[in-house]
Symmetry: C2
Subunit: 449 residues, 2 copies
């Protein structure tokens, strides 16, 4: 029996996955989770669809509530409790009860930092205007939802053309709100190469999103009542009733840094494959921590739900005395904009170039399902392979029905170390409603052999 | 320059893929293709959708016409020419010009047998009744299409609950024709385990297909005009205006056998990984030839378009002096019945048992997309792993939107030799419109770790 007390900071994917795993392995152990928000284990990735009106209620985004963790798993989840200091020498944390505005100390034997990430919010004039939002916690999503319901905005501006940006553009279209999207980069979706991003741009414009690239946010104008009136860029003034900032996220690592815990990639908390930080008995997991990249073999910062969940599981196993190693990431991600499916894994061409590897690249256009089948749709697949041994290094897919999840074939191939010929040789599933005889990812791989 | 003459028997996927590959590699070489039918390179797998009225014309099923091969690729394709004898000693074939009813001999240096497969048609009373069809060539599909158009059948009976059987059941429903399906086996879809087949059965019955299992076809009754009146089984008489026999296929290997070429698995033509037969300079590819199974490491007979195309490519490379080896099959296949997607790869539980391997099996039910997302649909995934080393041996998927092609993740994992933990560790793509945080195939794999 292990009576060491575990404290978890943060009650979302990584934290609660770890706490649940420890509870399963060690039924007697004391586990306290401090969560500064109101909610635990919510599907942040689902917020754009909730805001877009596709879900019946925000309740659907909550995988498990604090009281369920308490009652069914004997995990002492305390919401509205913010950890304000980690005292690593005395193995205790200082906690603020946000509702009572009181501080107290709580001792731990093991500490898991799962503080997540925060959206980047630039300091600029009138950033505090009503109707300017950054999506972070479930509460922030509810705020946006309620704002739309009450204020009935007609013009939205989305700042940033990444995942959140294009998903929120879709959400606004779903609410019949006019959408303008600006990005300071010369392309949308920085994780993709320019040629693939062009396809996304073309489709978004077709769907009546006004997209302006190489345009930098400068400040906001307010109405007399304090609500946002317009977005001022370095090129124009765009009227706006609501603004979403999708300018990326940064790891919530200050608490750890102040406590003397080492930071790593992109100032996320440095961890080894066991998810141990630089300080014994302190672990970190999820969007606040770095990850190991399977292709570059370097530490990277990738804030995604899949990674956070795997982090949590590995940390939970190790905290409860087991032995698990984080398997590494490829940065595999998928999203959609209306009917367009968009996915990527491994190295983009840009990343391959930056990494210094000698690579080859091919892009093909094909269909899914078969060309003659009703509703046959276009798919573009880009593959990056190592020039020396033709091993698959990365892939990007932009297409329609059935296109996006084919990225998993590429992700599996990269992880297994397959080369282009081996990808061509795979016995993949074919029938006209799904594919041509050669799957599009194989058609791309055939270009190299 | 290679002036050796290549003769190909059979102008569909395997034959034309090989001929095209040889032409690309050896522009000067003489290539003759004898095809006994009217068409080359047609998508046989698309016929049920054509018959079901989902394609505008049968033309869409033809990937490339004989005149295109002749004009653009300088391949001497002769349709309506049937090879009736292979004289391996004198390296020549006897050919019948079906339109002129004349025979002639043609010499070869290399011979590729790509004669395909034929549907199994039992010898029984009134099997020749009008309206009783077996799908084989494109012409047979056109015949069914025209019969439906002209005779307007109201009641269809499908004999056999395999791929063709369930696809034709869907086609008839699409034509508002009442469908009864009989199978002598105690389950549908012999390539699947009973538990997965039950899910298919339930859905087909829900969709108003009358399915009778463990019921054997005995004979047919005719109307006075020679058309089919009813199907007589060992249990009942079923009125029928049209009947489709979907009782499996057998390799067209008699021509080879008579010529003294060795047969292998299921009496298909025996080939090595280079697609060489037992006789020098004679090759075989496609539905008439056997294949190497990656999991059992044995020769098997699998008649599928993907396999035929890969066979043709490998044979083409080797015939033109290159060196390629057939990579092996997993028996990966996919189909759908209305909205249900159905796929499999590697060993089923039955096959694992028969092969003598010590195995474990798990089946899970999950969703695709995420549970809270509109249109979230059920998916069932069954995995078979090796008990000793937990390597993935096989998988089966039955589900709805987005379910079926996930089998490719399993097929790739089997080929790469991944075990259950490695499948769990994969960085697969997640977003609510597509998946939960753990992909259903990973949820299944997690049951083993």
């Amino acid at each position: 029996m292990n009576n060491k007390k575990l404290i978890v900071i943060g009650g979302d994917a990584a934290g609660m996955t770890a706490a649940s795993k420890v509870r399963r392995e060690q039924p007697e152990r004391e586990i306290i989770v401090f969560e500064r928000g109101y909610y635990t284990s919510y599907a942040a990735c689902g917020m754009p669809y909730y805001i877009g009106g596709q879900l019946e209620s925000e309740e659907h985004l909550i995988a498990r509530k604090p009281e369920v963790f308490r009652q069914k798993q004997n995990i002492d989840v305390r919401i509205r409790h913010e950890v304000t200091e980690i005292d690593q020498k005395n193995k205790r944390v200082k906690v603020k009860n946000l509702d009572k505005d009181k501080y107290f100390w709580e001792a731990w034997d093991d500490l898991l930092i799962a503080t997540g990430a925060s959206p980047i919010v630039p300091k600029m004039e009138n950033i505090d205007a009503g109707g300017v939002f950054a999506l972070s916690t479930l509460q922030s999503g509810i705020d946006v939802f309620n704002f739309i319901k009450e204020k009935k905005p007609e013009k939205a501006v989305v700042v940033g053309g990444g995942y959140i940006g294009i998903e929120m553009a879709e959400a606004f279209l779903g609410r019949s709100i006019d959408v303008t999207l600006i990005d300071m980069a010369p392309q949308l979706m920085a994780a993709f190469d320019t040629d693939m991003a062009e396809l996304i741009l073309g489709y978004m414009r077709e769907q009546q999103v006004k997209v302006f690239l190489e345009e930098k946010l400068v400040k906001f104008e307010k109405n007399a009542d304090g609500s946002v009136k317009s977005v001022i860029t370095d090129k124009q003034t765009i009227p706006a009733d609501i603004v979403i900032l999708g300018m990326g996220v940064k790891p919530n690592a200050e608490l750890a840094a102040i406590a003397g815990i080492e930071l790593g990639a992109k100032d996320a908390i440095q961890v080894n494959k066991r998810l141990e930080t630089s300080v014994p008995d302190i672990w970190a997991a999820g969007d606040c921590a770095e990850s190991f990249h399977l292709v570059t073999q370097e530490q990277v910062y990738i804030a995604l739900g899949t990674v956070a969940t795997k982090h949590g599981l590995v940390a939970g196993i190790n905290i409860s005395g087991g032995s698990a190693r984080f398997p590494g990431v490829l940065g595999t991600a998928i999203t959609k904009f209306k009917e367009m499916e968009i996915s990527r894994t491994g190295l983009s061409e840009k990343e391959a170039k930056d990494s210094g590897v000698d690579y080859l690249v091919e892009t093909i256009t094909s269909v899914t399902p078969a060309g003659y089948y009703p509703g046959s749709e276009k798919i573009s697949v880009k593959l990056v392979v190592n020039k020396q041994n033709q091993r698959i290094l990365g892939g990007q897919i932009v297409g329609f029905r059935g296109a996006g999840k084919r990225i998993d074939i590429i992700a599996t191939s990269i992880t297994a170390g397959l080369n282009a010929q081996q990808l061509v040789d795979l016995d993949l599933a074919y029938a006209p409603p799904f594919s041509n005889v050669w799957d599009p990812v194989q058609i791309a791989a055939r270009k190299f052999v």
